[in-house]
């Protein structure tokens, strides 16, 4: 009991952070599933979502700013794909990856230019920033809401992919572009849809994540972005349930490690995990088999 009451706050924080990583990781894994591209700009889209909310709230009330942030982030994800990846559809994969790195730096530097390099104060969001007590632990409402919202969104997404026409098209496109075209599927539209979903979830994740922090700087998204990427690889890149489970495992482990007093090592743990996964089981927990089609 004593152990639980001591560690409950860490466990709660871990589940919550895990949910936030999951929302970002889905964007990585879905884009990889369809384009075989690691979208390095995804973490920066997450940061930009944070900044959009900050700037929006300076002139607009929160109930408009939040939907506006979601819409603007989705638009950004869509534009990035159309401008930086679509023209390279027939180029070697490496070119697209380099383009993604370029977009990442572009967004970071744009954020640096606009913020002037100063930390921008994240607005307090009423209700979710409030504190509540869960058993012996005291925490923010957002900590409790995050995993619930994450799971609801993941279930909705799985339904979309498993049981709708566009979802079926997404799975078909992930299998084979050319044959999908033969079916009359507009492959570019399906790819855009993937970026739209990924950016939307990243925007939701960004609100939940930054609600825990006082401010956002242009590189604020780098760390959660990287960890979400590790989560996606750990779960098996291309697999949505894999990314979600990987994200929760990483979030919880990091915070348990903090609870044990080894805070300094919590980040190291995640990246050590990445190395171990790549060495021992590169396809991750639920990844597709590494056999390439001939």
């Amino acid at each position: 009991m004593d152990f639980l009451s001591k560690n409950l706050p860490y466990l709660l924080a871990g589940i919550s952070v895990g949910g936030q990583y999951a929302l970002i990781a889905i964007g990585y894994t879905m884009v990889y599933g369809i384009l075989r591209l690691i979208n390095f700009a995804h973490g920066d889209i997450f940061t930009v979502a944070g900044l959009i909310l900050i700037y929006a709230t300076t002139i607009l009330p929160l109930y408009i700013s939040i939907p506006l942030t979601l819409v603007a982030t989705v638009a950004l994800g869509y534009i990035v794909e159309r401008a930086a990846y679509k023209p390279l559809r027939n180029a070697p994969r490496m070119s697209v990856m380099i383009s993604a790195i370029g977009v990442s730096y572009l967004l970071q530097n744009l954020a640096l230019y606009i913020t002037g390099g100063l930390a921008q104060t994240y607005p307090a969001i009423p209700f979710i920033s409030n504190t509540i007590s869960v058993g012996p632990a005291t925490t923010k409402v957002v900590t409790v809401i995050t995993p619930i919202l994450t799971i609801i969104l993941v279930i909705a997404l799985m339904q979309l992919i498993g049981h709708t026409k566009i979802g079926m098209a997404m799975r078909a496109v992930a299998n084979d572009f050319e044959t999908s075209r033969l079916m009359g599927i507009k492959v570019d539209t399906v790819i855009s849809m993937t970026f739209i979903i990924g950016s939307f979830l990243a925007a939701v994740g960004s609100i939940l994540y930054f609600a825990n922090y006082p401010s956002v700087i242009p590189t604020s998204g780098a760390m959660p972005g990287l960890k979400a990427f590790v989560a996606a690889v750990f779960g098996g890149i291309g697999s949505i349930p894999g990314a979600v489970i990987g994200a929760f495992i990483i979030g919880i482990s990091e915070n348990i490690i903090k609870g044990l007093g080894w805070t300094t090592f919590s980040d190291a743990f995640t990246f050590a995990l990445l190395i171990i996964v790549l060495l021992v089981k590169p396809t991750g927990l639920f990844g597709e088999k590494a056999t390439d089609k001939v």
């Binding site: 098209a169 799975r171 084979d176 050319e178 044959t179 033969l182 079916m183 009359g184």
Partner: protein, 232 residues
């Protein structure tokens, strides 16, 4: 129905199709035979715009469709059963059929039953991922999937490739059956014997050119065709 004139296509840096012309009359079975690398696949792929022709015109039901979007061409009623079947391995058999009708918005029940009648095996296995089917079943699924778009013209790229002789017989009898039901068929084959027996009109393709034309029967009896493609 389909008219190809002076079609030239570059593929992989070489001129794979060097100005060919042929016609597919409505409700017929037409075959292009020829050796590997003769440009048969490239011809079919350029008709549905998976590769863009460098010159020439493709007319379908009186309309010039050269270089239009694949999506649009499929919408006009042409479908291609690609070489190697290319079913979607992660989609179930039923989903593979449904995705064949992706552009349609009406009820699919009748069409699914029609395909199940043609290929009872697909009905038994409707819930299985496409990738778990045998080669012959995958070919049936690929044909069934193509039928789901209610095409006016089905083009088939080597439907007999890699299949056991008995299965090949099955596939060809299905091709005739589909044709009897009013679908026009353009077939390319290395199995010249089967193809010419099935087809109303045959064209022989050699290194990007059409070198011979005739009814299926005429070509079957032609000395040159017999020695070059029928091994007799």
């Amino acid at each position: 129905m389909l008219k190809v004139e002076n079609l030239k296509v570059n593929y992989g840096g070489i001129e794979a199709v060097k100005g060919i012309s042929f016609e597919v009359p409505e409700k017929s079975i037409v075959t292009l035979i020829g050796a590997n690398g003769a440009g048969k696949s490239t011809t079919l792929r350029s008709i549905v715009s998976l590769v863009k022709p460098t010159s020439g015109t493709i007319t379908f039901m009186g309309e010039n469709i050269t270089g239009k979007d694949t999506n649009e061409i499929v919408g006009k009623g042409i479908t291609l059963v690609p070489e190697g079947r290319k079913i979607f391995p992660d989609l179930t058999v039923l989903e593979n059929l449904k995705i064949g009708a992706y552009r349609r918005k009406d009820d699919l029940t009748d069409d699914i039953n029609w395909v199940y009648d043609l290929f009872p095996r697909l009905k038994e296995r409707y819930w299985q991922p496409g990738g778990t089917l045998s080669g012959g079943e995958q070919q049936m699924l690929a044909v069934g999937r193509a039928l789901m778009s209610r095409p006016k013209l089905i083009m088939m790229d080597e439907p007999s490739l890699g299949l056991a002789p008995l299965i090949v017989q099955d596939i060809f009898s299905i091709i005739r059956e589909i044709n009897r039901q009013g679908v026009t068929i353009l077939l390319i084959e290395q199995n010249a014997n089967m193809a010419l027996r099935t087809a109303d009109i045959g064209y022989v393709m050699e290194t990007g050119r059409i070198t011979m034309t005739g009814s299926g029967r005429q070509l079957l009896e032609d000395e040159q065709v017999r020695s070059a493609y029928l091994g007799k």
